[in-house]
């Protein structure tokens, strides 16, 4: 599961190896992004180094989710420049995607499929081995009875755990997590924090948006504030 350990073969990778030494993993400068006609990001600037764990906080609707989605290459950039994992997002929003792992507010699970089916599918799309998948499953306590239960029958927290397992199964270099703690029970939260610390230690970069300041604050190495579509040091 060590990001740096695994050779990912994508256009972006080579480019990215070249730059890793010289450049920050995430470098946004004065990024403006619009959804519909609304500027969800209004000149956001953020620099994140390798193996940092950054906490984004801020009021509802400030732009945290939008920022994470932008880093994942899901949001087109109107103005400014953004480079993530060495990929210039203005030029190519596709190349970055194999390198990032995003957990949004939604879980991205298929209700009709069982827990095992879902994790298997999402693992496969990023070429995870069945070993990694199994590891992810029982790390999040989904190995037992639950693995055969359709996701539609799960409790909220169990769904969240499943979604996390899907993310873990892929070896991302940049983890983008949107309120990952929401819905998880005490054990799940500890497990999650441990996983993130491991990933960071192994050279991954983690950006977490959360409203649970005590919890996420203790996890983060740095806290920034998102307000009105802009980023401020906090």
């Amino acid at each position: 599961m060590l990001p740096s350990a695994s050779p990912v073969s994508t256009p972006g990778k080579v480019w990215q190896l070249a730059c890793r030494a010289v450049e920050a993993v995430v470098r946004l400068s004065d990024v403006v992004a619009v959804a519909g006609r609304f500027p969800v990001l209004a000149g956001a600037s953020l620099v994140v180094e390798r193996s940092e764990i950054v906490l984004l906080r801020g009021p509802n609707g400030a732009g945290k989710t939008s920022l994470l989605r932008l880093c994942a290459g899901l949001l087109p950039i109107e103005r400014g420049s953004a480079v993530v994992a060495g990929v210039d997002l203005v030029a190519d929003r596709w190349a970055v995607r194999p390198l990032v792992g995003l957990l949004g507010h939604a879980n991205g699970l298929y209700d009709d499929l069982t827990v095992a089916d879902n994790i298997g599918f999402w693992g496969a799309t990023v070429g995870a081995t069945s070993g990694e998948i199994a590891a992810a499953m029982d790390r999040l306590g989904l190995a037992g009875r639950l693995s055969a239960v359709p996701v539609s029958r799960l409790s909220a927290g169990q769904r969240r755990r499943t979604a996390l397992a899907c993310i873990v199964a892929r070896r991302a270099q940049v983890w983008l997590l949107d309120e990952p703690h929401a819905g998880l029970d005490a054990a799940g939260r500890d497990e999650l924090d441990a996983m993130l610390r491991d990933a960071a230690a192994a050279g991954a970069t983690v950006i977490v948006a959360s409203h649970e300041h005590e919890r996420a604050g203790s996890l983060a190495t740095r806290v920034v504030e998102v307000v009105g579509g802009q980023v401020r040091a906090a």
Binding site: A148, V149, P150, R153
Partner: protein, 254 residues
């Protein structure tokens, strides 16, 4: 997902449920049914005359019509006992099981009607199926009650099932008069109300009547047994719940 009760559980429940579904009464009834079927065969195939137009094909009547009417009866019984379930003062799962059993038997009879009918059609109309009102409505009636049985299978607690299906039965039964009167309404190719209009000779009528009685007895017999089997199914399910409860409570332990 269903609860797979441990082997011991199921076997124990089986032993508890290992009383036969037959009683002296139902055994008596069964023999009566057999006797009736024999007489019906004799009357229908040997004694009763053949029709001046239809020839021997008319003998189909003695199965076709009674089974159709019994299907009606079955569906009406389903509706009535469903109503009895919904009515607070008489609410009991027994009614629900009778409704279910009766619907199952009704579907069986309706299917028999369809099959004998289309065979008959092959002989008299030269085709298995025509887009006649009664034929089609009959087919739809059958589908409706298959749907009813499907709804019974949706799961949930016994009372959920009962409530849901009872309501459905009360709606579905509305189609029965539709089938019955359809011939009056449009594109009648199918036989009209020939029986009540005295188009049949006395002996034919008598045979038909025998068929009717026999099928009624057969219906009662089948419903009795099916209803008892359904009761046992519910008992087994309850035992399954007990096992599941124990398992669920153990979750806290570790």
């Amino acid at each position: 997902m269903t609860i797979a009760a441990p082997a011991s559980q199921t076997t124990s429940s089986r032993s508890a449920l290992r009383r036969p579904t037959s009683t002296r009464f139902s055994r008596g009834l069964g023999t009566a049914v057999l006797a009736g079927l024999v007489t019906l065969v004799v009357l229908g195939l040997a004694v009763s005359p053949d029709d001046r137009i239809q020839g021997d094909a008319v003998r189909n009547l003695y199965i076709h019509v009674p089974s159709a009417w019994l299907a009606y009866l079955a569906f009406i019984v389903t509706a009535v006992s469903s109503a009895a379930y919904l009515f607070r003062r008489t609410r009991s799962l027994a009614w629900d099981r009778i409704a279910g059993a009766s619907a199952e038997v009704g579907v069986l009879f309706m299917a028999i009607t369809l099959v004998t009918g289309s065979l008959w059609g092959r002989i008299t109309w030269g085709t298995y199926w025509v887009w006649d009102s009664r034929l089609t409505t009959t087919a739809f009636l059958l589908v409706t009650y298959i749907g009813y049985l499907a709804v019974r299978g949706l799961g949930g607690s016994h009372h959920q099932r009962a409530r849901r299906s009872a309501v459905l039965a009360l709606l579905a039964v509305l189609e029965v008069p539709l089938v019955h009167f359809s011939v009056r309404w449009w594109r009648p190719l199918h036989q009209g109300q020939s029986v009540r209009n005295g188009e049949l000779s006395d002996l034919m009528l008598f045979t038909l009547f025998t068929g009717l009685v026999t099928f009624t007895l057969l219906y009662v017999w089948l419903v009795l047994h099916r209803q008892r089997v359904l009761t046992m199914d519910d008992m087994v399910a309850d035992r399954g719940l007990d096992a599941a409860l124990a398992e669920r409570q153990r979750e806290g332990g570790q």
